[in-house]
């Protein structure tokens, strides 16, 4: 059969193909595969780097959060402290004011007491004066009993009209 004709072509084909394998292997596949390997390593490194950077970012974020929390805590503390101080201060002021008012009240009471005593003393003095004047009048007029009574009544009336 013609189509199944074997001859030296077989050998030439094998040699040609091996030659092709050798040439391509040396000049195409080897550099190409080296390049692919290089890229693989490159990508791997990039991935590792990205991982590291992400971890770092995570750490920084946590630090920030921690700081934030601390700051908020401190602010709350500060506010609480300020509130307490202000309350204390208010109480103090109130107490002081109370004391002051108490003092003023006491002083006023003392004043009033004194004024009253003086007024009483004055009234007493006036009463004494008037009594003397009454006695003077009675003695001066030497009146009989009925007139005397009339006079005393008149006098009392006069005393009632007097301003004291």
């Amino acid at each position: 059969m013609d189509i199944l004709h074997f001859d030296a072509t077989l050998v030439v084909q094998i040699i040609s193909f091996l030659l092709l394998v050798w040439i391509l292997g040396k000049f195409a596949w080897k550099p190409l595969m080296n390049m692919m390997e290089k890229r693989r390593i490159n990508i791997e490194n990039n991935l590792i780097q990205a991982q590291e950077e992400r971890q770092q970012a995570e750490k920084i974020k946590q630090e920030y959060q921690e700081e934030m929390r601390q700051a908020r805590h401190e602010a709350q503390d500060l506010i609480a402290r300020a509130t307490k101080v202000s309350e204390e201060r208010t109480a103090e002021i109130l107490a002081l004011a109370h004391e002051e008012s108490e003092k003023i009240k006491k002083a006023a009471l003392v004043d009033i007491e004194r004024e009253r005593d003086r007024a009483i003393l004055e009234v007493k003095a006036q009463v004494a004066d008037l009594s003397v004047a009454v006695a003077e009048k009675i003695i001066r007029q030497k009146l009989d009993m009925p007139n005397q009574e009339k006079l005393i009544e008149q006098f009392i009336q006069e005393v009632g009209e007097m301003p004291c």
Binding site: I3, H5, D7, T9, Q13, F17, V21, G25, L32, R39
Partner: protein, 256 residues
């Protein structure tokens, strides 16, 4: 009807050896094409963003790499990679060459160039697949089976031959037949598919002539068949490579 299908075998003579002139010429065209193709691919090699051609080559390498790691540990298969990549590309481009119209337009015939029988080599409607010659496919299959034996012995030493006597020594002839049938099936599967495809192209193109009708009706079946042949050519290149890988995988992997 179809009378002159039997083509005359064009032979080159050297001393008392004969060579298939057409097969060799087409093989060299394929080799030249592959060299150019790969040169374009590795011209601007970069580990950054690869160009189009580099991308294609990298895709092929990755494809074959995956085939290898499916069949054996990648450590053992790594040296095979450049052989298998070349193999799949060579068979693929060979299969495609037979589908390309005769781009010489029979100019060698026209100008009567008879050096090396070039006028006869570039004759007919299309070029020829080197894989449509049984010498090529047998050659490739022999290389495959040599690799199987070589790597089997390399990785397992004398133990490689043990499997010929398993499970009992009586099985030895069957194992021998198994080993011999591997290159046979590899070679004849590829040869048969591609050769039949080319014959059918010729038959389709001769059809209008045979029935003495206008040439145009052959265009549609020819287109369909060319498309199918591209599919077949791709599949056969893949099958040859996969089977070679699988045979080598069998030979180098420890069976327990």
């Amino acid at each position: 009807m179809i009378t002159d299908m039997e083509e005359e075998l064009i032979l080159w003579h050297f001393n008392n050896l004969t060579f298939h002139a057409k097969t060799l010429t087409m093989t060299w065209i394929v080799i030249a094409f592959m060299l150019i193709f790969c040169f374009l691919g590795v011209r601007h090699l970069t580990s950054g963003k690869p160009g189009k051609m580099q991308n294609i080559l990298e895709w092929i390498i990755d494809f074959v790499r995956k085939l290898i790691s499916d069949n054996m540990s990648y450590e053992k298969g790594r040296p095979l990679l450049s052989y298998l990549v070349t193999l799949i590309m060579f068979i693929f481009f060979s299969n495609m060459l037979g589908l390309i119209p005769n781009i010489t337009f029979n100019l060698f015939e026209h100008f009567g160039v008879e050096a090396g029988q070039l006028n006869k080599i570039f004759e007919g409607p299309s070029l020829m697949s080197p894989t449509a010659d049984v010498n090529t496919t047998i050659g490739l299959a022999l290389l495959s089976i040599t690799l199987v034996l070589f790597l089997g012995i390399k990785h397992k030493g004398v133990n490689y031959f043990k499997h010929f006597f398993e499970p009992i020594p009586v099985f030895f002839p069957i194992h021998v037949i198994d080993l011999l049938s591997k290159p046979m099936t590899l070679a004849f599967r590829l040869f048969g598919n591609i050769f039949a495809g080319e014959v059918l192209i010729k038959v389709i193109l001769k059809m209008p002539e045979s029935y003495d009708i206008w040439a145009f009706p052959a265009a549609l079946p020819d287109t369909v068949w060319l498309a199918f042949s591209i599919f077949i050519g791709t599949i056969q290149a893949f099958v040859f490579t996969v089977l070679t890988t699988a045979y080598i995988g069998q030979a180098v992997t420890e069976s327990h």
